[in-house]
């Protein structure tokens, strides 16, 4: 991919998870910024335009889904992907927010890198 794509936001309280997602994203040729909390993430969105966001479901300050709603308010078209070990694929909560259109996709931990690459290919915006 090329520089036409906006950077991707990664939010996870686990620095190692940020490191992993960052590496995967970089390999696809896109830029990436990481945040360890919802507060940090919101601060980043205030000065950056992101083409996509990977959010952990359980963050130390507020839930990933709550953060998704906040981000959605300022950026109606931001594709949001929840990456979590707390929920599972057919989780009623996940099904509801997918239907609602709050999130574009859900990826359970642990994941194959191909899954991440395919959601990037599918949803990343310019």
């Amino acid at each position: 991919m090329n520089e036409k794509y906006a950077p991707i936001l990664v939010v996870d309280d686990e620095p190692e998870m940020c490191w992993i997602l960052e590496n995967i994203i970089r390999k696809t040729g896109l830029a990436c910024m990481t945040a360890l909390s919802a507060r940090e993430a919101i601060a980043l969105t205030e000065s950056n335009k992101f083409g996509m966001a990977f959010l952990d479901a359980k963050l130390p300050d507020i839930d990933g889904l709550e953060l998704a709603r906040k981000l959605r308010k300022t950026n109606a078209h931001l594709p949001i992907v929840i990456v979590s070990g707390y929920f599972y694929q057919d989780d009623p909560t996940i099904e509801r927010v997918l239907q609602e259109g709050l999130i574009a996709a859900f990826v359970g931990k642990p994941f194959d890198h191909d899954e991440i690459v395919s959601v990037i290919t599918r949803y990343a915006r310019r």
Binding site: I20, S84, Y86, P110
Partner: protein
């Protein structure tokens, strides 16, 4: 007054004596017969005639076989015995005789035969028969009651035993024989303390030494019974003084109940509570394990790609190693917690480490609910005497309850303090609180406000019974809508502990 006896002539005197002896003979409650050498009745007193429903006329001068039923004479061999007495001039004593005369209820006699000598010559024999029918009946009744009481004690499934004041075993019932493996005869060679553990001996001696004081008339103690196979059976004992007929303490009665079944049930209950707690925490635990798993998995995937620099590949390997260690530590915590504990023996427990370990498990659950944990422990180790797995249950229950009271986040405070001779653990939450109407019922078994499937209603009642078992107290204070404080106090153990 004139004394007539003194003036009486010899003839007069013998007549008087005869009358006096006849009177005496008729008055005594025994039958007296005088029998001559030919086995003929010479004299019979009133008692004999009445008992045998005879008259003097059909008795005096008659042969023994005409007065006594043949059966008795043959069976008891009375004739032969009388002859022997006369021949040997030696009394025969103490035989029992059952007398059945036609139309008369059965009587039982105790008889003796005395030789009757007149001027150095044996003239006949006196047959003395004492009616012991009533006495025999009474002693049989006593024996029957004794047998009944005995069989009550023997049939009891509880241990029932008695000792003298010093603790030497006097009686030992069948249950005691069965449970201990010692027959009564062997147990009687021992002191009660021989059947106790070394550490219980001192307590038992104390109990025995003050058993006859009014204040300690009934003392209870759970102390294991040492069996012949050198195993120990958990027994709950009640000791009471054994009073003699003058109300003096003659010894101790000990009644013991085998607690094996009860303990088995309690262990099962605790185990099921543990699993219930694990179920509550499952989400948090899964989340906690999947994070390091994701790190391992991704690092492995990076390694499988060919293009990584050696530095990057080393980093990946390091992350895999760390991730596996982290996962393993979580699993180890879970294993330790869920491992069934069969031991109910108390040991010295470092309460602060126990609470910290329990908190580690709960953290996974608390984190995902955005619950802040604030802990405060004293610097020195806090030791209590107790069963570690049971105490862990208490705190696990209290922590999970506090967390469940804060579904939208809050603060869980754990404050451990030494307060004179006791340890005080306060568990504070900023949750929904308990209404004044409910707070009185929270320690009752099966009382729950959780919806079906979320709570068993046994958590706090188990906490209560475990804390009580550890001679502690548990109290709850709550303001509805603001939160609750649960305070557990346990007796602290000083000296000789681990550091």
């Amino acid at each position: 007054m004139e004394n007539k006896t003194l003036k009486a002539t010899g003839h007069d005197l013998s007549e008087r004596y005869e009358q006096l002896y006849t009177m005496l003979l008729d008055a005594i409650p025994s039958s007296v017969l005088l029998i001559d050498q030919n086995m003929r009745i010479v004299s019979a007193n009133r008692n004999f005639l009445e008992k045998g429903q005879r008259t003097l006329a059909n008795t005096i001068g008659y042969g023994l076989e005409e007065v006594f039923p043949t059966v008795i004479l043959d069976q008891m061999d009375i004739t032969k015995r009388i002859r022997q007495v006369i021949e040997n001039n030696q009394p025969a004593k103490g035989e029992r005789m059952t007398y059945r005369a036609p139309g008369v209820p059965i009587r039982i006699y105790y008889y003796s035969i005395l030789p009757f000598t007149w001027q150095g010559r044996v003239e006949g024999a006196v047959l003395l028969m004492e009616d012991v029918t009533e006495r025999v009946r009474l002693s049989e009744e006593v024996r029957r009651v004794e047998r009944h009481l005995g069989s009550v004690v023997e049939s009891a499934s509880d241990l029932v035993l008695s000792t003298d004041k010093k603790g030497r075993i006097l009686t030992w019932n069948a249950a005691a024989e069965r449970l201990s493996g010692y027959p009564a005869a062997e147990a009687q060679e021992h002191d009660f303390t021989d059947f106790c553990t070394d550490e219980d001996r001192k307590d038992i001696r104390n109990i025995f030494s003050r058993i006859d004081t009014r204040k300690y008339a009934r003392q209870m103690k759970e102390c294991p019974l040492r069996t012949r196979q050198e195993t120990f059976i958990p027994v709950s004992w009640v000791f009471s003084p054994l009073k003699d007929s003058s109300n003096q303490t003659a010894g101790v009665v000990a009644v013991g109940r085998d607690l094996t079944e009860k303990q088995k049930f309690e262990t099962e209950l605790h185990q099921s509570q543990k699993f219930a707690a694990l179920g509550v925490m499952a989400g948090g635990i899964a989340h906690e394990i999947r994070n390091p798993l994701a790190i391992c998995s991704s690092s492995a995937q990076f390694l499988m790609e060919e293009d990584g620099t050696p530095e990057f590949r080393r980093e990946c390997a390091g992350k895999i190693h760390k991730g596996i260690q982290r996962t393993s530590a979580i699993i180890e915590n879970l294993l330790k917690y869920s491992h069934p504990s069969t031991t109910t023996r108390t040991t010295l427990v470092n309460l602060a480490s126990l609470i910290k370990e329990t908190l580690t498990l709960v953290t996974y659950h608390a984190n995902i609910l955005k619950i802040d944990m604030k802990t405060s422990f004293p610097r020195e180790p806090i030791m209590v005497q107790g069963v570690a797995t049971l105490l862990q249950q208490v705190f696990m229950n209290l922590f999970l309850n506090a967390i469940n009271a804060m579904p939208t986040g809050g603060r869980l405070g754990i404050d451990v303090k030494m307060d004179h001779s006791e340890v005080r653990v306060q568990v504070t939450d900023t949750g929904c609180g308990i209404s004044p109407r409910e707070i009185g019922k929270i320690f009752d078994p099966f009382y729950t406000t959780s919806i079906v499937g979320q709570g068993t209603g046994l958590g706090l009642s188990l906490c209560y019974s475990i804390v009580k078992q550890h001679r502690g107290t548990i109290e709850a204070e709550s303001v509805e809508g603001q939160g609750s404080v649960f305070t557990v106090k346990l007796p602290a153990h000083f000296g000789g502990g681990e550091s």
